[in-house]
Subunit: 304 residues, 2 copies
């Protein structure tokens, strides 16, 4: 029976590439019938990465009924495949907050590192499993992407060391340039509708009974998106209505200026209270805020 | 700041010994200020094991307020220290069903093996960390105890291989005899009150809103406890009243006959439905049933 390995909804590079790499690792270490999958569309950054390293995108999995599943890069139900309980989760590999219940005993591993790919790369190293260049490439890209070129406060020493080992293996001397090239590929805003942008990496959270949506997009210059502010606020409102949200947020992260422009619609008083700053026309600049997971979600949860 | 490592309430040998061994492993791999602890009394089997390998029992931790904690051999709140949320869980290492939520990202590892000590022993092996004889001894004892000398269906190939490696290191040739000697030490029923017996390894479960308590005791001959049946049923009733239970169960596991005598008070119809067998005077023999985790809890959950 096939086991499907996949990351979270609205998959980012780490979700797609860690699924591909973990399926490869499982196969190389003797497991049969494992398949990398995804439960959403591939974003421009990930497309760039897969094309660069000549890897086909994983299959789209739409239904979990009766399926065996390995979750990578997420564990919470809200971020997983719809009706997950119609299938069976047989393993979890992640680096996020835990909110999980299992019927039986399963292998479940989370580590406090910047990317799921960091954990997987070290499985290859520790077990001396053969690591092909293209797998090393997508693992490096995922670490650089998830840690925002090591600038995010989620970055650990282990992420840096792992990335250096992978870069050496690939003959990449300048990881920073490699990263900026990747983030530029992601920021091709001209071709994208406001809906595309908002759905690139949108996550929903239940905060003490309130529904909050937070999209994060990384840019090499947040000003590229400023002319489209009205359109983005309008889309934030539309999502708020159709998803029944209390608060609908977009974080436009600037990886060079190291901060983010936050746009929000709904109960924005909560944001003002959380950061002790006023929003003007639905926007506020937050200096030094690069991580949704560490600097936005817990801060808002505290206020809600 | 000190980090306390401890296993579940009503600790068994794996809970006590995995806490001691993991504290030793953490120290040997460079972590400072970690202390093995326990949150309940030590049973006779564990006493025997600690005396045999000349290890002092870990300290009793009564209050979690403001403390950093590493959970071994459990993860669920109901089986942990009271008011656990007044402290901070910084890591989890376990081999049970998962029911856990964390605020931040933490190292969390569960594996489908028969004992937490199996996971820890392999950490020593994999990282080539020095493993002292007395730590090897308590790890072996825990594996033999939790897998009921490899007879429990929770036993995996990894448990057996790990135990063999440890036995070799210790010069123990007959693991079976070592195990029976240990279980005999546990079964000194003469000195124990019915309350002592019921509290040796009692766990409470929420089954679809119903409160169920299941104690498991291992014997080398279940008939040793048969003369005390009335007294045990009376104690089961008392626990049912004071804990507000719907069902109060005692499993007297016989590791030689490979089955268990089940005594129960309360909604015993659920047990009859689960195993399709009638209880007579509150008792029924279940052939082949050795594991509470795999053969009793899920079967009852299904019925509730």
């Amino acid at each position: 029976m096939t086991t499907y390995i996949f990351g979270h909804k609205n998959p980012d590079t780490d979700s797609i590439c860690s699924a591909i790499a973990y399926a490869d690792f499982k196969e190389k270490t003797g497991e049969k019938d494992v398949v990398a999958a995804r439960i959403g569309n591939i974003n421009n950054e990930t497309k760039f990465v897969l094309e660069k390293f000549k890897i086909a995108p994983p299959m789209l999995l739409k239904d979990s009924t009766g399926k065996k599943m390995i979750l990578v890069d997420h564990n919470q139900e809200a971020q997983s495949i719809d009706n997950r309980d119609k299938g069976e989760v047989v393993e979890v590999l992640d680096h996020h907050n835990i909110n999980f219940a299992s019927q039986g005993t399963i292998p479940f591993l989370t580590e406090s590192v910047g990317a799921t790919s960091t954990i997987i790369a070290n499985m290859y190293f520790d077990t001396k499993t053969q690591l092909d260049e293209k797998i090393a490439g997508i693992l490096l890209a995922s670490i650089v992407s998830d840690t925002i070129i090591f600038k995010s406060p989620t970055t650990t020493e282990k992420d840096k060391i792992t990335a250096q080992k992978l870069a050496k293996l690939l003959g990449i001397k300048d990881i920073e340039s490699f990263g900026i090239e990747m983030f530029k590929a992601k920021s091709v805003w001209g071709k994208m509708t406001a809906e595309d942008i908002l759905e690139m990496d949108r996550k929903e959270y239940d905060m003490s009974g309130s529904k909050v949506s937070i999209t994060q997009v990384e840019t090499v210059d947040y000003k590229d998106l400023v002319p489209r502010k009205k359109e983005l606020l309008c889309e934030l409102s539309r999502i708020k209505e159709i998803r029944g949200l209390d608060l609908s947020v977009l974080l436009i992260t600037d990886i060079i200026k190291e901060g983010c422009l936050l746009l929000a619609v709904g109960d924005t008083k909560k944001i003002e209270k959380a950061y002790n700053k006023k929003l003007t026309n639905g926007e506020v600049w937050l200096n030094g805020v690069l991580s949704r997971k560490k600097q936005v979600v817990p801060v808002l949860e505290e206020v809600f």
